[in-house]
């Protein structure tokens, strides 16, 4: 399989130069490599998007895909996973989407630990609605929320930060996230070059976490998470890479059920109704 097999004929309407293009590219590369490594099957892969600039990826990937609602990527993705646990499910959300409108789903899905991947194109702005602040914006009177720290506290089993300015690094993160068994979360630093252009700051301050340190150390993960507060008023080092990774029981495997998603069900009506007689 090649990258171009994932192309569609749809006209791309991101701003020229938008780092969302890089995220698209990293995603394609990650999927293609995983397919070629026989780790996933493309026909069993499906994505879910929110609403916002980020969500336009829906039209640019030749994949099973669900363009859902603003803020609701995660419950739709969860439904797809429980509906057919054989699928590789990947969600794409915006920061407005995931941390503002649908914050409850973010916290709860970190807890559920369903085996899927959540990718947030975090440009620290509502871009498609032309530039209002989001919960991760440094603008406005409030301190930004730190989604890495929140994910760790809420129990996510794979927590990473990527940069849309580093396609290969991001590709590797996406691969690892998909391969991780459990809820994998990647917050991607994605400068919006129109409304929130943070490219220079990121170029100056981003550094890569050592990928072969002990990834199961939640204390250290939290310390790393707090190195950057999502503000730009002073230079702070911004770690990218995996903060935390530790398997724990997966949601769909803990549910008391059988193979509802494959089996033809035959109900014995007599038996079913005997209690009511």
């Amino acid at each position: 399989m090649e990258n171009k097999d994932l192309n569609t004929k749809e006209e791309n309407t991101w701003c020229p130069g938008c780092p969302d293009f890089s995220i698209l590219e990293s995603t394609k590369r990650a999927l293609v490599e995983l397919v070629n490594e026989n780790k996933i099957e493309i026909k069993n892969t499906a994505i879910v998007t929110g609403i916002g600039c980020h969500a336009k990826i829906f039209d640019y990937l030749e994949l099973n895909s669900f363009s859902g609602l603003h803020g609701r990527v995660l419950p739709i993705a969860l439904g797809m996973k429980i509906g057919n646990p054989k699928l590789t499910v990947i969600g794409f959300g915006g920061d407005g989407d995931t941390y503002s409108e649908g914050m409850e789903h973010f916290i709860h899905n970190c807890r559920y630990n369903s085996d899927m991947t959540m990718i947030v194109n975090n440009n620290q702005v509502f871009a498609l609605t032309v530039g209002q602040p989001t919960p991760t914006s440094e603008k406005g009177p409030l301190k930004p929320l730190n989604p890495i720290a929140l994910a760790l506290t809420a129990g996510a089993s794979f927590v990473a930060r990527g940069s849309a300015l580093d396609i290969e690094h991001l590709k590797n993160l996406i691969k690892e996230a998909i391969l991780h068994k459990g809820f994998s979360f990647i917050d991607i630093l994605q400068p919006c070059i129109v409304f929130h252009n943070t490219v220079p700051y990121f170029q100056k301050n981003i550094y890569k976490l050592d990928p072969i340190r002990d990834l199961t150390n939640s204390k250290e993960a939290m310390e790393r998470a707090e190195e950057w507060d999502y503000c730009f008023d002073r230079d702070q080092k911004i770690p990218i890479g995996i903060f935390y990774k530790k398997e724990r029981p997966v949601f769909e495997e803990q549910l008391p059920h059988n193979t509802w998603y494959t089996q033809k069900r035959k109900t014995d009506w007599q038996d079913l109704t005997k209690d009511f007689h």
Binding site: N64, P75, I76, E104, H105, P256, H257, W260, T267, T273
Partner: protein, 573 residues
């Protein structure tokens, strides 16, 4: 049945106190006797106590035993929103003829506390009896009262014990001692004889659950909310046995969106909630309409607006259920009238939803959900259980292929071709578009689907007519029981029950209305019966047929109709 009422009239001449066991007896027997003359036996038992005292379980056991004896039973449950204390009661009406509602007056009161006596004595029929259980040990006391009750009716202990064994398995033994105690404490006062075949006893929520299982449902997702909660617990208990998945998620938004996600990949999914939770689902209802995926939603109404009277009934959400979510998209609203219809309508809902790829709302209410109905049998519908997913993979698959019926052939992710669901307006391949021609095409396609559904629901008995007579009662949903029970006591009335409210069975309804329009000198009545305060179905009928119903019997004190209530009101009109 006027005779029946007359007998009650005779009764009222008695000066005997109501709570005197022996004094009441004589008159009670007269009633029985007269009822037999009329070839009908009816008894109503109220059992009341504090929450936590087990009125629900006790009433259920009593109802069950009567069903075993072959009697028809209706069990109404009335309880406030609290966990321990307060006042709960059940009203069990039994009869040797089909009965589908409870009565306002009681022949027997089983009182687990003094409050039960204080509150309900006034509704004891003259000659009625109170079995006072207060002071008895919790639960044990309930069983003592059961013993008394059945001894009073001359019923053998064996069917009682059998019911307890079925319900409690090994744990039934202790109960037996209590039953014996009650049994031995009084004399047989009359002899109820076995009344034919055992009956099925089923609540509305059980009917909905059975229907869902029968329809091949894969996943039920909910967030607890009265009166839908018991579906969640009922199904959760049967997860392994029925190989279904039952989930509670963080809130109703997560519930409905997960259901739509699961539906996208092929699972048959249902969610259940009440008005407040349903409101939170409306954005996603519009989503389901746009992406064209099956979704079955049970909306169990309760007394609204807002939190309202959380454990009581009402039919105030009809127009909300018909018009939820932004924009125009195909949808179905079906309102079963009793537990048996709940089975069938739920199966139909899965069928329609799967075949036409549209959201379906099953509109019930607390009265349907939590009342128990009895039936000779509870056959399921033979409607298809198909998922309507293609086996053969077509070339050049288009998720939103334009077709005559409006229905696009369905694949799900995993089958091979790319499958898309798009909340934006889209092309047939499912890609986002702002193109005027595609917008029109897709709108027309969805509109055609609504028409295709209408053709199909026409065949699914969208309306039912009960009784004969030039006058017409029109109703929907859980009022069915009381209206049907009132019919024999009303002169010249028939009842039009509208089960499918969307697509609306315009012609069928208009036909009945026309039959009852005043013609020449003959006065005819058309009366709307609803458990709400403005007559919402009346609005819908006007919208759909242009016919405005002026004559309305509306009850909105959070309580369901009874036959007596209706008869009084209709005689008042």
């Amino acid at each position: 049945m006027d005779g029946y009422l007359k007998i009650r009239g005779i009764e009222q001449k008695s000066s005997h106190g109501t709570s005197v066991l022996v004094g009441g007896l004589f008159y009670f027997q007269i009633i029985i006797f007269c009822d037999i003359l009329e070839d009908i036996m009816e008894k109503t038992i109220l059992i009341g106590g504090k929450a936590g005292q087990g009125t629900a379980v006790t009433s259920h056991l009593i109802a069950k035993i009567f069903c075993h004896l072959g009697y028809y039973v209706f069990n109404y449950r009335d309880y406030p929103s609290l966990i321990t204390g307060g006042h709960n009661f059940n009203v069990i009406s039994i009869s040797d003829k089909p009965i589908s509602s409870h009565k306002d007056k009681f022949d027997i009161i089983l009182a687990l506390d003094q409050k039960t006596i204080d509150l309900h004595k006034k509704n004891l029929n003259k000659g009625g009896i109170i079995f006072d259980g207060k002071g008895l040990k919790p639960i044990f006391g309930n069983n003592v009262l059961i013993g008394k009750l059945f001894k009073y009716f001359g019923v053998d202990k064996s069917p009682i014990f059998k019911a307890f064994e079925e319900e409690f398995k090994e744990k039934a033994e202790m109960a037996k001692t209590a039953i014996e105690e009650g049994y031995n404490s009084i004399e047989i006062k009359e002899k109820l004889v076995k009344n034919g075949k055992e009956k099925y006893l089923l609540s509305g929520n059980e009917g909905l659950s059975l229907g869902a299982i029968a329809a091949g449902m894969d996943i039920y997702i909910a967030y607890p909310m009265t009166p839908a909660t018991s579906i969640l617990s009922f199904l959760a208990k049967r997860q392994l046995e029925q190989n279904i998945l039952v989930l509670q998620l963080e809130n109703e938004i997560a519930v409905v969106d997960a259901a739509i996600g699961a539906s996208f990949v092929g699972a048959k999914t249902m969610v259940g909630t009440s008005g407040g939770g349903f409101a939170l689902m409306t954005e996603s209802l519009s989503l389901a309409g746009m992406v064209e995926l099956p979704l079955v939603i049970f909306l169990g109404q309760r007394t609204a607006p807002s939190t309202g009277v959380a454990t009581y009934t009402g039919q105030g959400d009809l127009k909300f259920a018909l018009n939820p979510g932004q924009g125009e998209f195909p949808r179905v609203v079906v309102a079963p009238g009793d537990a048996k219809e709940a089975i069938i309508r739920t199966q139909e809902s899965f069928y329609l939803s799967s075949k036409y790829l549209a959201p379906i709302i099953i509109l019930g209410d607390k009265h349907l959900s939590e009342s128990s109905y009895s039936f000779d049998n509870i056959a399921k519908s033979s409607i298809s259980n198909s998922r309507f997913i293609l086996d053969k993979i077509p070339l050049n698959y288009k998720s939103y292929q334009i077709t005559k019926t409006g229905v696009s052939p369905r694949l799900v992710p995993g089958q091979g071709p790319v499958v898309r669901a798009n909340s934006y307006e889209h092309t047939d391949f499912g890609n986002t578009t702002e193109n005027a021609e595609w917008i029109i095409k897709m709108n027309d396609k969805r509109q055609r689907k609504q028409e295709s559904i209408a053709k199909e629901t026409k065949k699914l008995n969208p309306v039912s007519i009960y009784g004969k007579g030039r006058n017409l009662i029109i109703g929907w949903g859980s009022t069915k029981g009381a209206i049907i029970d009132a019919l024999p006591k009303l002169k010249n009335f028939r009842f039009l029950q509208i089960s499918y409210l969307m697509p609306f069975p315009k012609e069928e309804v208009l036909k009945e209305i026309k039959k009852s329009l005043p013609a020449g000198r003959q006065a005819k009545k058309i009366i709307l019966v609803e458990n709400n305060s403005t007559g919402l179905l009346g609005d819908v009928i006007a919208e759909q047929t242009g016919f405005i119903i002026k004559n309305k019997i509306l009850r909105y004190d959070a309580r369901p109709f009874t036959a007596e209530y209706l008869i009084n009101e209709i005689h008042g009109k």
